[in-house]
């Protein structure tokens, strides 16, 4: 079947036999965007988190057919080195990553949270950012999330 969607701002059509194939594998293996990670395949760790129409989705358990006509954003489309997303800027400032494997999923989850809730409390963060980081970079992550909120707000004020 043919499935059309927008990925990181670009229109994309793919031909795939099984529309139930997880979006993760389409993104990684067909579109060659490797920033979205495989961790568990059961939506339990969050390493595969990306955005579908602005919602944080665990793409290992999201059939590609549901992406038809929607906007998909991956870490590659979140920001660039030249123009980082506030979440990425905060992650750099606080030197959050260690091994780094789970970090795109965390940053995508955080960016989606800030869209809805520009100034999350610690409790909001606890309830919404529920991915798994085995290096346990959580202490810096919390600081970076608050910093990203600050950066987003100051950007909104100046624009």
């Amino acid at each position: 079947m043919k499935i059309s969607f927008t990925i990181n701002g670009q229109a994309q059509s793919i031909e795939i036999e099984d529309g139930n194939t997880p979006l993760l594998w389409v993104v990684r293996d067909m579109l060659d965007l490797k920033g979205t990670k495989f961790g568990c395949g059961k939506a339990a760790c969050g390493a595969c988190t990306l955005h579908v129409d602005g919602e944080a989705i665990r793409s290992c358990s999201y059939a590609v057919k549901f992406a038809e006509g929607k906007n998909v954003t991956t870490i590659e489309g979140l920001g660039t080195r030249e123009n980082p997303h506030p979440v990425q800027q905060a992650w750099v400032e606080h030197v959050v990553p260690q091994c780094g494997y789970c970090q795109p999923g965390f940053m995508m989850a955080t960016a989606a949270l800030l869209e809805k809730n520009p100034n999350p409390t610690d409790e909001d963060i606890d309830n919404n950012i529920i991915n798994v980081c085995r290096c346990a970079t959580y202490v810096r992550m919390r600081k970076a999330i608050h910093r990203a909120a600050e950066l987003t707000q100051s950007a909104n004020q100046t624009s």
């Binding site: 036999e17 099984d18 194939t21 997880p22 594998w25 293996d29 060659d32 965007l33 490797k34 920033g35 979205t36 990670k37 495989f38 961790g39 568990c40 395949g41 059961k42 339990a44 760790c45 390493a47 991956t74 870490i75 590659e76 920001g79 660039t80 080195r81 980082p84 990425q88 992650w91 750099v92 030197v95 959050v96 990553p97 260690q98 091994c99 780094g100 494997y101 789970c102 970090q103 795109p104 940053m107 610690d122 963060i125 606890d126 309830n127 950012i129 529920i130 991915n131 798994v132 980081c133 085995r134 290096c135 346990a136 970079t137 959580y138 202490v139 810096r140 992550m141 919390r142």
Partner: protein, 716 residues
């Protein structure tokens, strides 16, 4: 053991070509750490060290046309930040800017890989001297060559930012190195005083920071080769199960299936996509031989103090008499732990025309190479292992059987094959942290301080049966040196003390898990010492200080305990209490103060203060990051994680049911105070994990009166 082989760090190989210029290489380097030194002979019996045959371009350093220095690191980067520290060390002795240094993991075909492993928190500590000496030697080689080319005396030349100046002339390293085929090897230069370094000692941002924030494809899982196929292997669910036969008739005609690969003891599927390989796998019926349905009770029965191989690892004075009514005895336990690193184990392999290329996340590049070479019957130099960044190591990537299977499947189809574990396979076929059992005994003296302290402990394999620790070593040492980490008594001022290890090999693989035996051993010892302090009616900080010895290393332990002790309060207030604990691991002492409350019948850790003597902190920010990570991962191990045997299988098989510390559990505040109490770097990634379990349990004791003796910590 065989006669000790001569190792010289002055054995340089100098090569040109390879698309770069001015390539300099070093044959081998000195093993600095005592454990590594001990392991040297066996490392060499397993795999010949790269001493440089001269026929291959085995390099440490390259100088590129753009005047950058590329370090081919013999160690891999798995989050511990060592690539950043290496870049700092190279920049400071080679006189280049930090942004002129690029660090990449050496592949076996083009670099010198660590013959043993990346692990034990040893990367920076073990390369501290040889890497700086090599960088300094390369600097002097470049100066010597520049002197010739510029026609001036080498002593008149100075180096800065990758440029050599003198006699009114100036050349970049790249210009000097261009076209040089014969290098003159100087004597190893004097190293500069640490205080004069520009980068070493500074909180430099990680060299891999941007790659990791912008999602670059740097991990084994991201590797691809042209025309690559996807594969999987069927693994048994039962502990101890072995392969008998498989019915693959249905799978063979499934969409996308290229080949069903049947070997003597396993069956795999190669297909065009990952999803197709997995779908075909589901249709294969394997007949497993399951000799026994192992239970949790079976394992606990095997693993007890008093059972297995006994080794007294430490002894001073006589043993206590357990029948003595003044002797206090307590029992502690820890469960099976999973690595649960997020990047699954896997490999991309191409075997064709008598050679193999394997790209993967591995902590044992040389071992992976040797295993593939043996399994495929290829000469070692025909197997190129290319390491990537690791999506977590923690000891899990010391075992890379999947690399062999990926290579065998590629060999059968003649195309590149990518194969990685499912998460269920990760959880059921981990090389687990072994469960442990501990009996502590102690007695107070007339002065109210420790008179006797004994740690009797039972563990499964940690170092024993590991691919990097041949059995020969253990028949000499008679003990599992991995299970022993943190097992000996560090209070050497105690009149009588001893540690006794009981080792048993369990029916499932157990091995290295970040900090090895340290987490469970320290939990038992430091919980017990705390209980003895309470019995003696003394402040636990003062109680510990009274039993510290007076040798050199003891002074560092004392300083750490004193510093952390300044923040410790012994009385609970406003529903919160503090717990104190300390440990010494790999020569690096550490003390924690954990501040805890009970919320909804659960233990809540609010703050951890960590005082850590890491010696020289090459990169203080990354040392702090390692402390934070080690503490919170240790919390996860001490408070949440547990694998169980049920119906002969290991459970759980997914995150969530395998309970781990998440953001909501992590303390908001981890304060790290670094004491740099020696003139060299010590291991950093593991030692700060030691005290955390006991620090939390000791706080709970003050809050509730309950002494928790089993991990994961659960309130009754």
């Amino acid at each position: 053991m065989t006669e000790k082989k001569k190792v010289s760090r002055r054995k340089f190989l100098i090569r040109g070509g390879l698309g770069t210029i001015g390539v300099l290489a070093v044959g081998t380097y000195v093993f600095r750490n005592p454990l590594r030194r001990m392991g040297l002979e066996m490392a060499e019996t397993m795999i010949p060290p790269y001493s440089g045959s001269g026929t291959e371009a085995n390099l440490w350093f390259e100088i590129t046309k753009e005047n950058k220095v590329v370090l081919h690191s013999p160690k891999v980067e798995m989050g511990q930040g060592s690539f950043t520290s290496f870049a700092q060390m190279v920049a400071d002795e080679l006189d280049v800017n930090l942004d002129q240094v690029q660090v990449i993991g050496a592949a076996t075909a083009t670099g010198i890989v660590d013959a043993l492993s990346t692990g034990g928190s040893l990367s920076v500590a073990s390369l501290w001297l040889p890497l700086r000496e090599m960088a300094a030697t390369v600097r002097e080689m470049l100066k010597g060559e520049a002197a010739k080319q510029m026609g001036v005396d080498a002593s008149s030349l100075s180096t800065k930012d990758g440029t050599i100046e003198g006699g009114g002339k100036s050349m970049t390293y790249a210009e000097v190195a261009a076209g040089v085929t014969e290098w003159k090897l100087p004597k190893t230069p004097e190293l500069r005083p640490v205080k004069d370094y520009k980068y070493i000692g500074q909180p430099i941002k990680r060299v891999d920071l941007e790659a990791k924030v912008f999602g670059d494809p740097i991990f084994g899982m991201d590797a691809e080769m042209p025309d690559m196929l996807h594969a999987c292997v069927i693994r048994p669910e039962h502990v101890g199960a072995t392969f008998k036969s498989a019915d693959t008739s249905k799978a063979e005609s499934m969409p996308g299936v290229v080949k069903i690969v049947q070997k003597e003891d396993w069956v795999g599927v190669v297909a065009e996509t990952y999803a197709q390989a997995q779908a075909a796998k589901m249709t294969i019926k394997v007949d497993w031989d399951v000799p026994k349905q192992w239970t949790e009770e079976d394992i606990r029965g095997l693993l007890q103090v008093g059972k297995g191989n006994k080794m007294v690892t430490q002894k001073k004075g006589g043993a206590v008499d357990p029948a003595d009514e003044d002797v206090v005895s307590m029992e502690f336990k820890s469960p099976i732990g999973a690595h649960a690193q997020i990047e699954p184990n896997g490999a991309v392999a191409l075997v064709k025309d008598g050679s193999a290329t394997i790209i993967l996340s591995t902590q044992v590049i040389g071992v992976t190479q040797k295993q593939v070479s043996e399994a495929l019957g290829l000469p070692l130099d025909k197997v190129n292992v290319i390491p990537t960044y690791l999506g977590g190591g923690f000891g899990r990537r010391l075992n890379t059987v999947h690399a062999v299977q990926a290579a065998q499947m590629s060999q059968e189809v003649g195309k590149p094959v990518k194969y990685f574990f499912t998460r269920k396979e990760e959880f059921q076929h981990d090389t687990f942290r072994p469960p442990t059992h501990h009996i502590m005994r102690g007695k107070l003296g007339a002065d109210g301080y420790l008179d006797s302290l004994e740690h009797h402990y039972a563990s499964g394999d940690v170092a024993i049966n590991s691919v990097i620790m041949p059995a020969a070593l253990h028949s000499i040492l008679g003990t599992d040196v991995g299970a022993m980490r943190g097992g000996n008594i560090m209070y050497r001022g105690t009149p009588k003390y001893r540690a006794v290890q009981w080792h048993t090999t369990l029916p499932f693989a157990t091995s290295w898990w970040r900090s090895l035996g340290l987490l469970a051993n320290t939990f038992a010892i430091e919980s017990f010492v705390d209980e003895m302090a309470i019995k003696a009616g003394k402040n636990p900080v003062e109680f510990r200080l009274a039993s510290i010895g007076d040798e050199g290393a003891d002074k560092r332990l004392k300083a750490v305990i004193e510093k952390a002790g300044e923040s410790y309060r012994d009385e609970a207030s406003n529903g919160r209490a503090m717990g104190f604990a300390a440990s010494v691991d790999a020569g690096a002492p550490c003390a924690h103060v954990a501040e805890v409350s009970i919320e909804n019948k659960e233990i809540k850790v609010h703050k951890v203060l960590c005082v850590f003597d890491c010696g020289i902190a090459v990169n203080p920010d990354q040392v702090r990051a390692q402390c934070e990570g080690s503490i919170v991962m240790g919390m996860s191990g001490a408070m949440h994680e547990k694998m169980t045997l049920k119906d002969g299988q290991l459970y759980p098989t997914i995150y969530g049911p395998y309970n781990m510390t998440l953001l909501r559990h992590a303390p908001k505040d981890v304060e790290v105070i670094l004491i740099q109490g020696d003139d060299k770097p010590y291991p950093v990634g593991e030692p700060p994990m030691g005290p955390i379990g006991a620090a939390i349990a000791n706080a709970v004791r003050r809050l509730t009166g309950e002494r928790l003796t089993d991990l994961p910590l659960r309130l009754s």
